[in-house]
């Protein structure tokens, strides 16, 4: 009997070529009682490993392979939850005390967090092995003694790896001699990086990607042979025949270790720390009813029942504190005048609406609360809030200050392999040129999974002559398929943050992101299982533009919140398709849709937002939807059960909620199974995964009395939809903002365009296009003028004035000096170039902003309001302008006129 204690999965990021599930299946086949996972510098696979192992009755041993500050490797295994917490602390220290991407652990840190850990002396790159390979036995003893001093002799094992590399015999004999000297037990591992020899090329390609080499290059980190696979117990017994005690130690360690992860706990902080959960539930109830009275005025019995139903589920799942924390953040935003709006599935909740977290009345829309939160799924809630982009970081700061730096972090994402990235990475490793790589990835859609390239090549007519059809690329496609969905590197979730009652480093290692903030090593899917709840605090420039426009319009009595809901002029504007600047409805596809769909009611906008997405477009749902909405095509249903689900969308699968309902009604999926289908469908990382769930769907539908052919067609609707799809609540939340921005565009175009220009870069179009659109609405774009321009774009009813901030390279100090001087002069315009700010600009002729300010316009536009056309000074300014232009070849960013 044998247990693998040194195993790298796909989470070793470019150093592990097989998924956790593959190892666990093999371990179960060979009746291994336990298995350890020891990825490089992270424990990102810990939750998946724990859950999958539990299903197969295998004891999961959490571990990690670390690199010390002297560059040597060490294998750490968590003996219990204390050990796991210490691994988290060690990794956090290693990541935060070193440059990003170079996690090195100091011996001091190991001494500090040494409890609950079993230490294997490590692979060939360990201090002990390196000394032995240098034939320095005494140094090896020193290295071993250091481990014993830090962790204690009971916790240290001498790791033997017989992977048939040169000098292995000598190394194993050296380790055995160390064992004789010190009585530190031996333990056998295989430093596993892939399941079997067949997966070795994939590992080699991943290493090439990591080391930025090609297969023809020699690199010390390239593996020499294919021996680091998940060997069977018999094979390990054969390899370690002279060292039976090393095999026995694997079982001994497995027995010593207990599952270190404690899942299903709730680490979310109590909103009222001194009081119990009942107090939070009571406060939430009071706030909800108070909000309900404000939102609805009269509370009907149906509404009362719905709110009570939601509150009951929230209390049962003990997530009242979560709602209160989000409410508190939104209150802070309101207090500071920061505009915000909820999005996502939270808009399914009436409680969220009453608390002011979302603006979608889910009760009136008949949205299903269970899509957001249900007792059956018992998932944690996930509320997404968009904030005015200018102040999103202020909101994050508030959260850090409110709950403490040690208790707050951003959530990571895994940038996973899809078709294009796999083709690029592996093609580069094969030594293909950039132009060949460009050819290979041409027309391969970005959402295609890495194992779906072949079917894509068969399916799309435009790929019939694609170079990937050539037999020489057959192996490449196989290797790409093998890494479908594998994480390639860490990313940062756009707005996801977690707040924990206990210090986060006891639950997850933290590491710096590219932006500098600390991120968890678990993504949004697994972080929940650890007992942490994600809050999405997102940044939305549209909200900044809206606030900006509202600020301008305040003197006219305008209020964004009071925009009338059914304004005919706004819908008429939408139907023209002239919607450049409207949130979510400005893309060419959306503009074309608006004029063809003929939006008349809010429901059309909700559908529009959901329709122009890769999922529905790929599934050919747009044309049938338009035809049916306009009454040109009859609405039909392939199965009577679909009528109720798809009636709202004219028989077209448009929302995630509908997919869930179809799975429940047609195939009898449980809520958990339906949610898994939703996740597979939404992310669509692996063709294999989709096929697997498809087989399950069809089998269950047939068992449910649905004809096989019908079930297949229904599932094809779902497959067609896969990739990206909106939930209805999310679409409704976006449609609300879309409608309001359309209203602004129709009624206050100058102020709205000025606000959009101030928030650039944003939206679909460059500033020039916005200016052209404004001109088409009869608005004059006035040039920059030192006597008139403010810092930002300003607007009145028919004009937009370019702001001083638009001068390329403009320094804040000079900007302020202009404004100060101007206010001091009581708005008396400058008339000559010799006045203070003018001469300052002239004296800055070598600085970029000085040059741009003067050279902004062919007739020195910044000063154009100052001089009559024929004066001497204007000629002087023009002369400056010409000289600068010839020297710096500057070009104006704005076309005034």
């Amino acid at each position: 009997m044998f247990v693998h204690l040194h195993v790298h999965s796909q989470y070793s990021m470019l150093d592990g070529a097989s998924p956790i599930s593959a190892y666990l299946e093999a371990a179960a086949r060979w009746e291994m009682p336990a298995l350890a996972l020891t990825d490089h510098d992270n424990v990102s696979g810990a939750v998946e490993f724990h859950q999958e192992a539990a299903k197969l009755g295998i004891k999961p041993i959490q571990g990690v392979e670390i690199t010390t500050t002297d560059g040597t490797h060490l294998t750490l295994l968590a003996e219990n939850s204390t050990g796991y917490a210490n691994i988290c602390r060690i990794l956090t220290a290693g990541h935060t005390q070193n440059p990003r991407g170079d996690c090195r652990i100091s011996w001091d840190v190991l001494s500090q967090f040494n409890k609950g850990l079993i230490v294997l002396s490590g692979c060939r790159r360990s201090g002990v092995s390196q000394a032995l390979l240098r034939r320095n036995f005494s140094q090896a003893k020193v290295e071993l003694r250091r481990l014993i001093e830090i962790f204690g002799c009971e916790q240290v094992y001498l790791e033997m790896i017989n992977s048939h590399l040169p000098h292995t015999k000598y190394l194993l004999e050296g380790l055995a001699a160390l064992h004789e000297c010190t009585r530190i037990p031996l333990v056998a591992t295989n430093n596993v990086h892939y399941l079997d020899k067949a997966a070795f090329p994939v590992h080699d390609l991943l290493v090439c990607t990591r080391t930025q080499t090609t297969l023809a290059d020699i690199h010390p980190e390239r593996p020499l042979n294919a021996e680091n696979y998940f060997a069977s117990p018999e094979e390990m017994a054969q390899r370690f025949a002279p060292y039976p005690q090393a095999l026995a130690s694997t079982l001994e360690i497995a027995q010593r270790c207990t599952p270190a992860l404690e899942l299903g706990q709730n680490h979310f902080p109590r909103f009222l720390p001194d009081k119990g959960p009942e107090a939070a539930a009571q406060l939430l109830r009071e706030l909800t009813w108070s909000g309900a009275r404000q939102r609805y005025g009269r509370i009907t019995s149906g509404l009362r029942e719905r709110i009570e139903h939601e509150l009951r589920i929230i209390t049962t799942l003990d997530v009242a504190d979560y709602f209160l924390v989000v409410w508190d953040i939104v209150q802070y935003a309101h207090k500071k005048g920061i505009r915000c709006a909820g999005r996502g599935s939270a808009a399914d909740s009436v409680v969220a609406y009453c608390l002011g977290l979302t603006n979608v009345d889910s009760y009136a829309r008949g949205l299903l609360f269970e899509r957001f939160l249900s007792l059956e799924r018992a998932q944690k809630p996930d509320i997404d809030i968009d904030f005015d982009s200018r102040y999103r970081d202020d909101i994050a700061d508030y959260v850090y200050k409110r709950y403490g730096e040690e208790h707050v972090a951003s959530v990571c994402t895994f940038q996973t392999y899809h078709a294009r990235s796999a083709l690029r990475d592996f093609g580069r490793a094969f030594g293909y040129s950039q132009s060949e790589l460009a050819q290979l990835t041409k027309n391969i859609v970005h959402y295609c999974p890495a194992d779906g390239i072949r079917s894509l090549l068969q399916r799309l007519p435009e790929l019939r002559r694609h170079p990937l059809h050539h037999p020489k690329y057959a192996k490449l496609l196989d290797y790409c398929a093998a890494v479908a969905g594998f994480p390639r590197h860490f990313g940062t979730h756009l707005g996801g943050m977690v707040i924990s009652a206990k210090p986060l480093t006891e639950v997850t290692p933290l590491q710096p992101s590219a932006k500098g903030v600390l991120i968890t090593q678990f993504d949004k899917n697994t972080i929940e299982d650890l007992g942490l709840i994600k809050i999405d605090l997102l940044s939305l420039r549209t909200l900044a533009a809206v606030s900006d426009a509202e600020q301008n319009l305040k003197p006219m009595g305008f209020s964004y919140e009071q925009i009338p809901q059914d304004d005919p002029r706004t819908y008429a504007r939408l139907r023209t398709g002239e919607t450049v600047g409207v949130f979510q409805l400005e893309s060419p596809a959306q503009r074309a849709l608006q004029s063809r769909l003929g939006s008349e009611v809010f429901e059309d906008l909700v559908a529009s937002v959901a329709l122009i997405r890769p999922g529905p477009i790929k599934g050919d749902m747009v044309e049938p939807f338009i035809a049916r909405r306009r009454g040109r095509e009859e609405v039909s249903y392939i199965h009577p059960k679909l009528r109720r689900i798809l009636e709202k969308t004219y028989g077209v699968v448009l929302y995630q909620e509908q997919v869930i309902e179809i799975a429940t009604e047609i195939a009898g999926f449980t809520p958990g199974e339906s949610d898994r289908l939703r996740k597979v469908m939404t992310h669509f990382r692996s063709q294999k995964e989709m096929e697997h769930i498809g087989e399950e769907f069809i089998a269950k539908a047939v068992a449910n009395g649905v004809e096989r052919e019908v079930a297949e067609v229904i599932f094809s609707y779902i497959v067609g939809y896969a990739g990206y799809g909106f939930c209805e609540a999310h679409a409704a939340a976006f449609a609300d903002t879309a409608y309001r921005t359309a209203y602004l565009l129709e009624h206050y175009p100058a102020q709205f365009y000025a606000a959009l220009l101030n928030q650039q870069p944003m939206g679909f179009y460059p500033p020039n296009t916005l200016c052209v659109q404004a001109r088409r609405r009869g608005i004059k774009i006035l040039p920059l003028d030192v006597n008139c321009s403010e810092v930002d774009f300003t607007a009145d009813d028919r004009t937009i004035r370019i702001g001083l901030k638009q001068v390329k390279g403009m320094e804040q100090s000079f900007l302020e000096s202009i404004l100060t001087e101007r206010s001091r002069r009581n708005s008396r315009p400058w008339k000559t170039l010799s006045t203070a700010p003018m001469s300052a600009a002239m004296s800055q002729k070598t600085s970029s902003w000085g040059e741009h300010l003067i050279g902004f316009h062919p007739t020195a536009a910044s000063f154009c309001g100052m001089f009559p056309p024929t004066t001497k000074t204007n000629r002087e300014a023009s002369s400056w302008n010409r000289r600068f232009r010839s020297r710096f070849r500057t070009s104006p960013r704005w076309n005034a006129g």
Partner: protein, 77 residues
């Protein structure tokens, strides 16, 4: 000094390990000095090989065993 041979040879095994090989004449292997495995240039179609560094009366030689064809190569003499 050794020279690169890279030619098929006949090898006599004893208990699964090379004991003698023939290359123009017979070479008796006194002991196996080192053993390792190489994946080879798999992307060019090469298969795995087991490398034996052996000591004979004439010095150190390198024998390669190719499991895919069950054949031996005298790589270096």
């Amino acid at each position: 000094m050794s020279k690169l041979v890279n030619q098929p040879v006949e090898v006599v095994l004893e208990n699964g390990f090379p004991r003698r090989f023939f290359f123009h004449k017979s070479f008796l292997i006194h002991h196996i000095q080192e053993y390792w495995r190489e994946a080879g240039q798999w992307w060019l179609g090469e298969t795995e090989r087991f490398v034996y560094q052996v000591v004979t009366d004439y010095g150190v030689s390198e024998l390669h065993y190719l499991p895919s064809t069950d054949s031996w190569i005298l790589y270096r003499l």
